[in-house]
């Protein structure tokens, strides 16, 4: 029974996530940027733009220039999250890929990096007057959701060990459209439930910043307006 419930939940969540995000990306990609608006320091070549984008998404370069505290918490959170996500691949692959094995020990303890990041960001949201002013309930809720996921996940790993082999069997089954039994460990169930919730809210929340960062015209445009004429399709119609 539990297995079926969570299976349905995950199928729905995956559909919502994939279709929702794909639809947003499709929308972002189709809207033209009518004018050249790269922000300084703007690269003159497309290679330069790739490099800039790389520095932004890997090092959070602008955030670093902007605010060291937000950078420290935000960057630690995101990088830890990648490690944790990579580690989680082991529950969906058989045999486990070699590089996932390598990540395993780092991914395990990265959970504390995520907790550190969330605590820092949340603390600032409450304590710093300016950030408190711009926060909506949804901003707190998002941190609560992430915090809940990391906390319950860490519990199943470090405190109340769950039957991870059974979980893996369940997940591998889902990938083959076969629904099996799921251990009824409360931390595990809450963990899985919150993850599904996160996947469902992703396309309608600020988590859209993940695809959005690549579509920001001020950061993804090449500074070559004088050399190459840039014209949006709707603007081209004015010329005829």
């Amino acid at each position: 029974m539990l297995g079926i419930l969570f299976a349905v939940l995950f199928y729905v969540a995956t559909l919502v996530l994939v279709i929702g995000v794909a639809a947003r990306i499709w929308r972002f990609a189709r809207i033209p940027a009518p004018l050249k608006v790269p922000i300084a320091p703007a690269p003159k070549t497309s290679g330069g733009v790739v490099l800039r984008m790389f520095r932004e998404v890997v090092f959070f370069e602008s955030l670093f220039k902007s605010n060291k505290w937000i950078w420290l918490f935000g960057w630690t959170f995101h990088m830890s999250m990648w490690l944790v996500l990579m580690r989680h691949l082991r529950y969906f692959t058989q045999p486990v890929w070699g590089w996932v094995e390598v990540v395993q020990p780092f991914g395990t303890y990265a959970a504390f990096g995520m907790i550190f990041g969330i605590a820092g960001l949340w603390g600032r949201r409450i304590v710093v007057e300016r950030i408190r002013y711009i926060s909506s309930p949804s901003d707190h809720l998002m941190l609560a959701l992430l915090g809940g996921i990391v906390f319950t996940g860490a519990m199943t790993r470090f405190v109340a060990h769950t039957d991870i082999v059974a979980v893996k069997v369940f997940m591998l089954g889902l990938l083959r459209l076969k629904v099996g039994p799921l251990p009824s460990d409360p931390f595990l169930l809450v963990h899985l439930f919150l993850v599904a919730a996160l996947m469902i809210v992703f396309p309608v929340s600020k988590l859209l910043h993940a695809p959005g960062v690549f579509f920001s015209p001020s950061r993804n445009q090449t500074d070559n307006a004088r050399k190459k004429r840039h014209l949006a399709p709707w603007a081209a119609k004015m010329e005829s």
Partner: protein, 520 residues
């Protein structure tokens, strides 16, 4: 509000973060455009009964037309990194002047009508209905943004509040709530060709006077031609350069450089304006119409090149948009950048060695340089990344012995706005302008204390006018702001001129700045 009422913020350093003062600037708003000015640009003359539907329809259209608008509305994570980056926030403490809060004034409405979360859980995501109070709030706070883009530099996603405020102003225009200052000026450009409404005859007379001034001063006849068919270069410069101090001094500098370089050039009476306020109101169509005047002038006069004078937002429109709006420029000489900045031209000439420069003529000046927002963050110069920072400084160092930069976090891509850009250079906003200038003025004071800096050079007509108005409130003379080409003009020794003559150091009377300086 009269400027005298302004309590000038005392900042310990240029970027001091203020305590929040909720509602501090809620009363600030520019004069509304009259029916005539609105209709002149094709906007309704007053707030229409169905304004709300029109506003939402426009918002939807913008989200389909402009990727930046859509992506920026969806992408902000409320991290707060931008909250202390706006000079208007630093100067006023009003939390709605924090860039993300300014965006949220519109984002909250976008969410309410166009997103799942906002439609069904408005309280949760801070979504709200569009009401007349909200519209008034937009009018106030979107006219407290100089569209300087400083916030965009520091946002992890490059979210540019300027894009949002341009969009907001466009939405307000199409529902009949336009701003007088911008819309009146754009109307003048459409009708006459420049922001001042200066007719051809008056323009010719002014320029003849200036030619006489140069001859009197130097003994050399230097021409400032108007509408000369067959000239090689069309100079497009802000009309303030014809009338206001210190702008005129810059124009004299361009004329002398052209003279020494031995090129033929002309001003056009039809396109006698570099400024393009269509940018400020976010109107592609208006911006395009103004730009097309330059294309027509270039064709009619048969020029081979176009060079722009010192103006910040004009250079943004020229460098980044002119090719889009009024191109392709296949009838011009492809051997030169199209368009070219006067500083690029002058720097080339300096490197070629065609100018004789006597730096000591600027020895009475200890100088710093103000990077104008639109030049620094929204355009470039030369072929190298960062040329817009280096080329002006290179020229300055070639003509001036005492140069000191302000603190690094207040210059170049992090430059602080003069406080008067983006269509806010109007008297009724003086209180905002003074407060918005305070971070820049504090940075200036630091180099005054440290290096004895006496003057600030700028390459933007708006900056120059704004500074000459607000600097006296911070203890500087109104003529402490200079054009970069004024320094060039001082230093240049014209061929045939004996080196002792005309040291150029005296500045003519500050005459008409008050009368027309607001209309650069």
């Amino acid at each position: 509000m009269a400027a005298q009422d302004t309590d000038i913020p005392q900042l310990a350093h240029p970027l001091e973060i203020p305590r929040l003062k909720c509602g501090a600037m809620a009363e600030s708003a520019p004069y509304a455009a009259s029916r005539e000015h609105q209709e002149g640009l094709g906007f309704p003359g007053e707030l229409l009964p169905d304004w709300k539907e029109r506003a939402l329809a426009k918002m939807e259209e913008l989200a389909k037309r402009n990727r930046a608008f859509q992506v920026y509305l969806d992408t902000c994570v409320k991290c707060g990194a931008c909250t202390d980056k706006c000079h208007y926030f630093i100067g006023t403490g009003d939390p709605k002047n924090m860039p993300v809060a300014r965006q949220d004034l519109l984002r909250s409405v976008y969410r309410r009508y166009f997103t799942f979360a906002g439609k069904y859980f408005p309280k949760l995501v801070g979504a709200r209905d569009l009401t007349e109070e909200v519209l008034d709030e937009w009018y106030s706070y979107y006219h407290q943004c100089s569209q300087c883009r400083r916030c965009s530099v520091f946002c992890p996603f490059g979210i540019d509040t300027a894009e949002i405020s341009m969009a907001a102003r466009e939405i307000m225009d199409v529902v009949g709530k336009g701003q007088k200052y911008c819309n009146e000026i754009i109307g003048k450009v459409h009708d006459i060709g420049n922001n001042l409404g200066l007719q051809e005859k008056a323009l010719r007379a002014t320029l003849e006077d200036l030619e006489e001034d140069i001859e009197e001063d130097t003994g050399i006849s230097v021409r400032i031609p108007v509408d000369e068919k067959g000239a090689d270069i069309l100079l497009v410069t802000p009309s303030a350069d014809f009338f206001a101090e210190p702008h005129i001094e810059g124009l004299l500098g361009y004329a002398k450089v052209f003279h020494e370089a031995g090129v033929s050039w002309t001003i056009s009476s039809y396109a006698s304006e570099a400024a393009n306020f269509g940018l400020f109101i976010g109107s592609y169509e208006n911006m395009r119409d103004v730009s097309l005047r330059i294309r027509k002038a270039a064709k009619d006069l048969g020029v081979k090149r176009i060079i722009f004078g010192e103006c910040g937002h004009a250079w943004r429109v020229a460098y980044s948009y002119l090719n889009t709006l009024a191109g392709p420029w296949d009838f011009l000489d492809q051997g030169y950048p199209i368009p070219q900045h006067i500083l690029e031209f002058t720097w080339d000439e300096i490197q070629k060695g065609s100018l004789t420069l006597d730096k000591s003529r600027n020895d009475h000046i200890r100088l710093t340089f103000h990077d104008s927002c639109n030049v620094a963050r929204a355009s470039g110069m030369g072929d190298e990344e960062g040329g817009q920072f280096e080329i002006p400084r290179n020229v300055i160092k070639a003509v001036c012995n005492h140069f000191h930069d302000m603190p690094r976090d207040t210059i170049k891509e992090a430059t602080l706005c003069c406080g008067g850009g983006g269509g806010l250079l109007t008297d009724e906003l003086m209180d905002l302008r003074v407060k918005g200038a305070s971070p820049r003025m504090t940075a200036l004071k630091e180099v005054t204390e440290e290096h004895g800096v006496t003057h600030l050079a700028a390459i933007c007509a708006i900056c120059k006018t704004q500074f000459s108005k607000v600097m006296p409130k911070f203890g500087y003379d109104m003529d402490s702001v200079l054009s970069v080409h004024q320094l060039v003009s001082n230093a240049i020794v014209l061929s045939g001129q004996d080196a002792g003559e005309g040291d150029g150091s005296e500045t003519p009377e500050n005459a008409p700045n008050d009368a027309i300086g607001e209309e650069v």
